[in-house]
């Protein structure tokens, strides 16, 4: 509990980013595992990058709580900062790849011509499309929050 009390706003922001990234992975996994247009439509490296981003954010928070001095403190500060930068970059990669992979499919589901729209817009396909959009939203939020976290220190200044 003492450690948590020392969390700065930045640490909490970073934690929220990590949680959102984790939610993204879950939404993604559920989405491609459920019946519908995007079933089994895996996006290359998305899960790996997302998990790495979560790990980076959590590691940054942990390192940010270390009370060190001298060269060790500097080294830890550099590693922690690098992790904070890496995490939103990974999440950005995930988001860009997801959008690229899903654009055609979403267009097909929502903008097919009237002749086939009823065939295409099955409940399963619409649920699948909604899941993908939710996945994109989660990733975008995680990315923005992750970026916000990089502007902050992760431990409260001691009085």
């Amino acid at each position: 509990m003492n450690v948590i009390k020392k969390f700065s706003v930045g640490a909490w922001i970073t934690l929220v980013a990590a949680v959102m990234a984790l939610v993204s992975v879950i939404v993604y996994t559920v989405n491609i595992g459920s019946a519908g247009y995007f079933q089994n439509a895996a996006v290359s490296n998305l899960t790996v990058f997302c998990v790495l981003a979560v790990a980076a954010l959590v590691a940054a928070i942990v390192l940010g709580q270390a009370k060190l001095s001298g060269p060790a403190a500097t080294a830890v500060a550099l590693v922690q900062g690098a992790l904070q930068i890496a995490a939103p970059v990974l999440l950005t990669l995930c988001l860009a790849n997801l959008v690229a992979a899903r654009a055609e499919g979403l267009g097909f589901i929502y903008f097919s011509n009237a002749d086939v729209i009823l065939e295409v817009q099955t409940p399963a396909n619409l649920a699948s499309a909604t899941g993908t959009i939710a996945n994109m939203a989660c990733l975008a939020v995680a990315m923005v929050i992750g970026i916000a976290g990089t502007f902050c220190t992760l431990r409260k200044k001691e009085q």
Partner: protein, 1040 residues
């Protein structure tokens, strides 16, 4: 300390910049993928037209006309090499030994079909005939027999004959005795072959027999059958040399021909017969066990200027024999189920269609009799019909499936007497002489299917790897053929879905070194595994079960592989043991979804009216089904039952259709008149976006400028050349025949490029050769400056009797499909419109201009249309000519289901659609053709794109049409404009415009690139600042 506090800010900015950098890098790639759509959305332009002549989009592969000519000749010779099929080869008859002696018998040996130049044959000065080719190949031709045939029997000379079309006298090659080149339309066919008993009368030397050294001489007998447009063989119509009716099949060898063979057998140690015909012949007498059995039989098709060189190279073994039969050869054509309904006949009360009060033609007595093939009397020509009750079982699909069922499914009554011609019970071994895909190789080899991958998606492929092993001591080329067996399930039995026990998919040729092996990959769209269920799902389905694939030298070997895989042996009735590899691919549940949407369009029934049962309201027609070969074997619906129009519950609708009233001009919706919209058909207006996208707004703007008069007029008077439209200023495009290549003569050299043989290309079984021919054909167009030709035929060879089978590829839809793909893609890659003939069941010439072909929708989609699908959907085919006949009661050129629903919507075809010859205004209905999507009606006129050129300012052909009668039918006028849009779009994408485009940067390309550079630089700078600020020592150490 103050500086140190900036470290998190620098870190944050570095993170932002890193993310922007990632977005810029990934985004640039994504944007490039969706470039066209982004351009549409942002109104930007990524491509500009390059009008520099050196940057033409389509440039010839050849630097000089001499290179072009050499390429055409080389291709024609390859057709002979790859297309010659060794059907029978016993006693070492073939290959002929180098320097060996031969004696040539038969008129066609010295004047192969066709012997006159024209559409079918180029007739260039350096053409090589069979005699010359065999001599060039090093064979010694018996001079006594040669001189007798050339000088006494044939006596080549010239005659003045009237041109079929113009009536002008032309000088043509003629002979004293020659086979009949045109069989006529269901007429008696005289088989002109001089029997040996006449040799003496004609002046043969008395010692001609002794002039042949029997021990060292091979007799080569060549027999031809003529063919031609408007021609149809009639079963039982043969006349002999003396002109006496024999009652025999005109496609069977006559007694005179058999006598020639006997003379050759008497005087030569071995005899080889060459079949010089585009129509499959009946060879029972000379095949194994026949009364006049010969040592060898080879198919040489219909030959052109140079193919004989290639044929001779095969006969002498200079190249390995790799050709295969594109059709099944049977012991008796009467065993073919399609022949049960061939030619057609009248409805019992066809006269009730006739009328004298048709409001479109006041005062005109319009009958309903058949008309001549080239038009003539005032008639709707809707009195004749034929029922294609055989369904999908055309050619080998019938014989091989019945053979398979005779072993696997005895309950299907495959062995019943129905359809048997050789015995009291049906027996494959007696009915079939040589099956589809059969062709002997000189060099011993094996083909083994190694693996198959099926991508079960609408755009997916079947990818098969076949190992070809050359077991001989010579290098050589070999043919691999891929076959599939789809599961035939209870669902199919219940819903009338038919499946052939074996289906050809595709083939490939490859060179294999002596003793070596090579793996060749064969691909074919996976959609062709699906079957059309017209009764229940009403779409394409994939049945649950095992799909079996194999590689085999012919359909029969393939079906035996399947039987062996399923545990059958000779003890079960197989006629040969088989051990060819079979690869299984399983579908675990009936799939009615994957192939039910094509090109974004729902695939469902569009041709229910093609079924005679639709009109009679009862199950009048029983379609051939493998669940009961005996009970469903076709009867003749013209003679065995009486079909009366008046008995139909849809009598009025049926009669209206037979009168061509598919569409009636409306009078309640004013059309918008055209006018100058400030755009033109030119390179200023037509840029990359317009070339890429027929839905680009430019095209609608362009065609909206066409006046009502010209919009309708240009479609219904499409002619043999396009006309210049006011406000559009499009180029004139001249159409060219023909099926052997451009018939136009190259002005400088006098060379003619129609040197191709459709029949030998077909029997090459080599889609790559088809592509190469298409490319040569396209190149010749560039040299001739002709850009549009009717340059191939893809209609299914439903029976052997069709007089135009020489223009078509095969009895098999998929061989036609793959060959069509190659030819059309080759031409398209050179920017040439090559329109295949005649889509929509033009499978008999007899009464082609009106006969109703009735069928169910599975046949409709899986037979003739599939022949065209490869070239028009899978390849970039740019033109097509529609069948002359009716589909059901509907003129094929009025058929909205075929042209709009399938061709345009399902296949996504954006090219030109032409009718065949418009020779009967009562049969071809102008407004119905417009509404069906026809872009040009072939009326052979020029500068006649108006509906005001007749007396009183009405249309010159359809007098009830004028600007006043169509101006209140906006749907008709707009459809005409849409049809012209496709035609203009196709011209723009062809060598007619021949402009290239080049990529330029849009503002968003620049923005993305700059974002990449700026964000990269800022990322590096702020990251460096963050590191420095973190590392530098401070007076008071802070915690991070």
């Amino acid at each position: 300390m103050r500086a140190k506090s900036f470290a998190p800010v620098m870190r944050g900015v570095a993170a932002v910049m890193a993310c922007v950098l990632v977005l810029a890098i990934v985004g640039a790639g994504v944007a490039d993928t969706f470039r066209t759509r982004i351009d549409d959305a942002l109104h930007t332009q990524s491509y500009v037209t390059n009008t520099d002549p050196d940057s033409a989009r389509f440039k010839s592969d050849y630097a000089t006309i001499d290179e072009m000519i050499a390429a055409a000749k080389a291709l024609a010779i390859r057709e002979g090499e790859e297309g010659t099929v060794i059907m029978k080869n016993d006693n070492g008859a073939l290959p002929l030994a180098e320097g060996g002696s031969v004696a040539l018998f038969g008129l066609a040996a010295y004047a192969p079909y066709p012997y006159t130049a024209g559409d079918l044959k180029a007739g260039n000065e350096d053409a090589v005939d069979l005699l010359q080719a065999l001599t060039d190949a090093g064979l010694k031709v018996n001079e006594t027999v040669r001189d007798f045939y050339l000088e006494k029997v044939l006596n080549k000379h010239t005659e003045e004959v009237p041109n079929r079309w113009t009536g002008e006298l032309e000088t043509q090659v003629a002979y004293d005795n020659i086979y009949v080149a045109a069989p006529g339309d269901m007429a008696q066919y005289q088989i002109v072959e001089v029997p040996p008993e006449k040799f003496g009368e004609l002046g043969a030397p008395a010692d001609w027999k002794s002039s042949i050294d029997k021990a060292s001489t091979t007799g080569i007998c060549v027999f031809a059958r003529g063919a031609g447009e408007g021609n149809t063989y009639a079963p039982g119509s043969a006349l002999d040399f003396a002109g006496n009716a024999t009652g025999k099949d005109p496609l069977a060898l006559s007694d005179d021909e058999l006598a020639v063979i006997d003379a050759a057998k008497e005087t030569c140690s071995k005899v080889v017969v060459l079949i010089n015909s585009g129509n499959t012949m009946v060879l029972k007498d000379i095949a194994k066990g026949g009364g006049h059995e010969v040592d060898g039989i080879a198919y040489i098709g219909v030959i052109n200027d140079y193919q004989c060189t290639g044929i001779a190279r095969v006969l002498t073994g200079q190249v390995n024999a790799t050709g295969a039969l594109p059709d099944t050869y049977v012991a008796d054509n009467a065993s073919i189920p399609a022949v049960m309904n061939f030619g057609g006949g009248y409805y019992a009360d066809y006269e009730i269609v006739a009328r004298s009060d048709d409001p479109r033609y006041p005062g005109v007595e319009i009958g309903n009799e058949t008309a001549g093939s080239f038009g003539g009397s005032n008639t709707y020509n809707g009195g004749h019909f034929v029922v294609e009750a055989e369904g999908i079982y055309v050619g080998y699909k019938y014989y091989e499936t019945r053979y398979y069922d005779s072993i696997m499914n005895p309950g299907s009554k495959a062995g019943s007497a129905k359809g048997a011609t050789q015995d009291s019970a049906w027996d494959y071994g007696k009915e079939v002489l040589y099956t589809f895909g059969h062709g002997l190789s000189y060099l011993d080899y094996t083909q083994t299917l190694k693996r198959v991958d099926v991508d079960k998606t609408p755009e997916g492929n079947v990818t098969a790897v076949v190992e070809l092993k050359n077991n001989s001591s010579q290098d050589g080329s070999f043919l691999a053929q891929l076959y599939v067996q789809q599961p035939y399930t209870d669902y199919d039995r219940q819903n009338g879905v038919e499946k052939s026990a074996v289906m050809f998919l595709n083939s490939a040729k490859v060179q294999v070194p002596a003793g070596g092996s090579v793996e060749v990959t064969i691909t074919v769209p996976a959609k062709y595994l699906a079957s059309y269920d017209y009764t229940n799902a009403k779409t394409y389905i994939l049945d649950a079960g095992d799909y079996l694939f194999t590689a085999a030298p012919g359909a029969h070997a393939a079906v035996n592989n399947f039987l062996a895989h399923q545990g059958k042996t000779a003890a079960d009735g197989m006629d040969a043991e088989a051990n060819g590899a079979v690869v299984s691919w399983n579908v675990n549940a009936l799939d009615t979804d994957t192939f039910s949407v094509e090109n974004g369009v729902k695939v469902t029934n569009v041709a229910e009216t093609a079924d005679l049962n639709y009109w009679t309201g009862t199950n009048t027609v029983t379609y051939l089904s493998r669940h009961d070969w005996e009970g469903t074997y076709p009867i003749n619906y013209n003679t065995d039952v009486e079909i009366k129009l008046a008995d139909s519950p849809k009598k009025d609708e049926w009669i209206a259709e037979l009168r061509g009233e598919t569409y009636t001009i409306q009078n309640n919706s004013p059309a918008t008149e055209g006018g100058d919209k400030g755009v033109r058909f030119d390179t200023t207006n037509i840029q990359y976006e317009q070339l890429e996208n027929v839905t680009d707004a430019f095209w609608d703007t362009l065609v909206s400028s066409i006046t009502i008069d010209e919009a309708v007029g240009a479609v219904i008077h499409g002619g043999s050349r396009s006309d210049v439209l006011t406000n559009v200023e499009n180029p004139i495009v001249i159409q060219n025949e023909g099926v052997s290549g451009f018939t136009a003569t190259h002005e400088e050299t006098g060379y003619r490029f129609n040197v191709h043989s459709q029949t030998l290309l077909a029997s090459s079984f080599n889609p790559e050769l088809a592509y190469e021919w298409g490319r040569v054909e396209g190149n010749s167009g560039l040299w001739l400056q002709r850009y549009h030709l009717w340059g191939t035929g893809l209609t299914q060879r439903r029976t052997p009797y069709n007089g135009r089978n020489y223009e078509y590829i095969s009895e098999d839809p998929m061989l036609s499909n793959r060959m069509g793909y190659g030819i059309l893609q080759g031409c398209a890659d050179m920017g040439i419109l090559n329109g295949p003939k005649h889509m929509g069941f033009n499978d008999q010439e007899h009464n082609r201009g009106g006969v109703s072909a009735y069928m169910n929708e599975q046949k409709f989609r899986e037979t003739d249309l599939r022949c065209f699908q490869g070239g028009l959907e899978d390849a970039d085919g740019m033109a097509v000519m529609i069948a002359f006949n009716r589909i059901g009661a509907t003129n094929a050129s009025h058929h909205v289901g075929m042209l709009q629903k399938i061709l345009r919507d399902e296949w996504g075809y954006t090219g030109l659609i032409s009718t065949d010859m418009m020779n009967n205004k009562y049969y071809f209905n102008a407004e119905s053709m417009v509404m069906a999507g026809i872009t040009q009606v072939a009326d052979f006129g020029g500068d006649d794109n108006h509906i005001t050129l007749g007396k009183g300012g009405v249309d010159a052909t359809w007098a009830y049409i004028s600007p006043a009668t169509v101006e209140n039918d906006s749907a008709l006028v707009e459809q005409a404009r849409q049809n012209l849009k496709y035609q203009l779009y196709t011209y723009a994408n062809s060598a007619i415009m021949n402009v290239s485009t080049e990529r330029v940067d849009t503002w968003w390309d620049v923005a993305l690139r700059n974002a990449k550079y700026v964000s990269g630089a800022l990322c590096a700078a702020t990251a460096a600042a963050w590191v420095i600020l973190t590392v530098i020592p401070d007076k008071k150490k802070e915690e991070v």
